[in-house]
Symmetry: C2
């Protein structure tokens, strides 16, 4: 099982991942797309990656903006699994 | 342009639509699915309907739960367009 990262480890990992910020026990990024369908297409790619990794982000769709939040509930905080999925999601951008 | 419904009109329309509740200037419903991919498939059907009607719900995905919120920002509140899309979404359930 992935173990919770310390505040310093989280800061360091966030420093290497543009666009992501910490919000309490989660890391979050808002992606913006030119159209609503483009955002939905991204959500589909994210969903496929998430299902494969068996790690599911919270996803908020606000027209052309898609906000993804990651936390490892079983560990009670932010773990390497969250940063792995964050990296995978960033690579799914058009 | 669709005009804002009165409180009484909203109450009446909600009475005819199981699962929907009012939250301030929006109507909202949480759908639950047996699996994460089933929820994502529903989001895709909703997105297609929304794009056709040029009216886009806020969509929050929380693992197998999908919450949709509808409001007509151009009218400053809840209109018939919201209830039309709510009905269309309910019909997209498996």
């Amino acid at each position: 099982m992935a173990s919770m990262l310390s505040d310093i480890e989280i800061q360091r990992a966030l420093g290497a991942r543009t666009g992501w910020t910490r919000r309490g026990n989660a890391i979050t990024r808002t992606y913006e797309f030119p159209t609503f369908p483009a955002g939905i297409a991204f959500v589909n790619r994210v969903a496929e990656a998430a299902e494969k990794m068996d790690h599911h982000p919270d996803i908020d769709i606000r027209y052309t903006k898609v906000t993804c939040s990651l936390s490892t509930h079983s560990a009670g905080g932010i773990t390497q699994r969250d940063f792995k999925l964050a990296e995978a999601m960033d690579e799914l951008l058009p």
